[in-house]
């Protein structure tokens, strides 16, 4: 696992420059922190490169790092079916939590179609805007729901269509 991530980082550094990705290791699974602007190109590169073939996107998770940190993290778990590798990518976006200024991350739904629904879910529950997503509607909650419930500063509304929900 350790070895793979260093190899992938070297590949990315050769293609996109040294700042494209940095290794972050807090536990059992080290992750690559990718520059937000390069995300789509990096993903496409990792999917099609003959040494990696990360053809399977397992999961996209949006994480709220907490109000004091002032950032959101989007985590991508990739798998390579031909090589049986696993890789974690992270994108960290600073944001001021205003509801008319959502953190924006490039959409990877053109790389893996899995991302389509996963990004809709992250938008729905965490309020991450995915630039270039073909159909970024709410997916689990009703379309007129207000706010993004998985945010740490979310407060339940009193009423929804005249129904007390608190």
């Amino acid at each position: 696992m350790e070895e793979l991530i260093i190899r992938v980082k070297t590949l990315l550094a050769a293609q996109f420059g040294d700042e494209a990705a940095t290794i972050e290791s807090s536990g059992l699974q080290p992750a690559l922190v990718v520059e937000s602007l390069l995300l789509r190109q990096v993903c496409l590169f990792l999917r099609d490169h003959v040494d990696t073939y990360f053809d399977f996107l397992s999961c996209i998770s949006a994480v709220d790092d907490g109000v004091p940190a002032g950032t959101f993290t989007v985590v991508y778990h990739l798998a390579s079916i031909p090589y049986n590798y696993q890789l974690t990518l992270k994108v960290i976006v600073p944001n001021d939590r205003r509801l008319d200024n959502l953190p924006s991350v490039p959409s990877v739904s053109s790389v893996w179609r899995t991302a389509d629904w996963h990004e809709r879910e992250a938008f729905d529950l965490m309020g991450i805007y995915f630039e270039g997503h073909p159909d970024l509607r709410r997916i689990l909650l009703p379309e007129d729901w207000e706010g993004y419930p998985l945010r740490k500063d979310y407060e339940d509304a009193e009423m929804y269509h005249g129904i007390p929900i608190k």
Binding site: Q29, F56, R113, R137
Partner: protein, 399 residues
């Protein structure tokens, strides 16, 4: 590009798409109460006569805020919530969740062999139960009622056994972090062996009733063909991916729990009746997987009655931690559920037994997302056949 700060442009585009249909087209709602949607799934079909031009799935009717709940309670208390995700395979859900927490704690290599074998035993029993429902209800979707009754009759034996072990019929909370709720009841092994002896001939009967049935074949072969590259790109997993010809089973590729010690094959779709990746293949892979699960159960029973026999002083809760104390880290765990890859992504907090974030990746969620791709230009009746072959559980799609 200028971003609309209300973030409603996609919603408006969707509404415009529906109002802008041509005179030949018609919008039909299927669900959320349609029986063949296997739960509360609503599909909006844009049809031209009998042909489906486009389908827009609407999910979320069974959204129970699993991820939000998981952020407010400790790891042990979350296990009953995982049971309710894929309620047809609760054991497998808790197994995956527990495995992730154990690995983060670093106790995954200390779990006694007997505990691991019991876990695999109950998980495989549950896998059979889940596949029996998939096959039985698929029969109903296609118009065959008998297989449904037969499958439910056999499934009931499994439900009774698991109820005996855990005290609950469907939602078990049996597998705990570090161990089990209780050891198996006395004589469970022999009753389970009896069931396997009873079940094997029944499986042959069931196979004869549906698999080679000409009416069934003409309804499912060459329908809803899912090529392997599309399946991978949409994140399909489990029987869905294997039916498209990819030998990808996490029990083998990840070698978790005691699966490396157990012999079993991974059935894949070969396109025997039509093309690889059609509805019939997806059905057949599930039937073959039941057979493999029976093999696994037999091997587990052999070990559990010989070298891992129950002893008086055996305590399945010996390693259960009083408080799960983790350092700040994140971990993604994945396991092979009856429906595919179930993943949990944990972000933990320093010195706290309450996670900061738990994300669940349900296999049905991803398998269902391929539906709009599969149904372009097919007949409405075939849509039901395709949907049934995906085998979704809405509890897991919506979480």
């Amino acid at each position: 590009m200028v971003i609309d700060k209300t973030y409603q442009q996609a919603q408006r585009a969707y509404e415009e798409r529906l109002t802008a249909i041509s005179a030949e087209e018609m919008v039909i709602n299927m669900g959320p109460q349609h029986p063949s949607t296997h739960g509360v799934l609503r599909l909006q079909l844009i049809t031209d006569g009998e042909l489906v031009k486009e389908v827009i799935p609407h999910i979320g009717y069974l959204h129970r805020c699993f991820e939000k709940h998981a952020e407010s309670m400790n790891y042990g208390k979350t296990i009953p919530f995982t049971d309710r995700m894929d309620y047809l395979a609760s054991m497998n859900n808790s197994h995956a969740f527990v495995m992730g927490v154990e690995r983060m704690l670093g106790i995954d290599h200390q779990i006694p062999k007997r505990v691991e074998y019991i876990r695999v035993l109950v998980c495989e029993l549950n896998r059979i139960a889940s596949h029996l429902i998939a096959i039985g209800t698929y029969g109903i979707d296609i118009g065959a009622f008998t297989p449904f009754m037969w499958c439910f009759r056999d499934r009931e034996h499994i439900m009774n056994m698991l109820e005996w072990a855990s005290g609950s019929r469907m939602l078990y909370n049996y597998i705990w972090v570090g161990g089990l709720f209780y050891d198996l009841p006395v004589d469970f092994e022999s009753r389970c062996a009896e069931f396997i002896n009873y079940f094997k001939p029944k499986l042959v009967e069931l196979d004869e009733l549906l698999t080679g049935n000409q009416i069934f074949i003409s309804r499912t072969a060459n329908i809803g063909i899912l090529p392997a590259d599309v399946a991978i790109n949409y994140g399909c997993s489990g029987p869905m991916l294997r039916a498209s010809g990819i030998r990808w089973d996490l029990r083998r590729t990840d070698n978790y729990s005691v699966y490396p010690e157990i012999e079993f094959d991974i059935p894949i779709g070969k396109g025997e009746q039509g093309s690889p990746g059609d509805c019939w293949d997806r059905f057949k892979v599930r039937v073959d997987e039941i057979r493999e699960s029976v093999r696994i159960i037999e091997q587990c029973l052999a070990r559990l009655t010989k070298e891992l026999k129950r002893t008086v002083d055996f305590d399945p809760r010996a390693l259960v931690p009083k408080k799960v104390n983790l350092k700040s880290q994140d971990y993604y765990v994945r396991a092979e559920n009856p429906k595919g890859e179930l993943g949990f992504y944990f972000v933990t907090q320093e010195k706290s037994d309450i996670p900061k974030r738990v994300k669940a990746r349900g296999p049905s969620f991803n398998n269902l997302s391929v539906l709009p791709e599969l149904v372009k230009g097919i007949l409405i009746a075939d849509l039901v056949a395709i949907l049934g072959s995906i085998d979704i559980v809405l509890g897991e799609v919506d979480r």
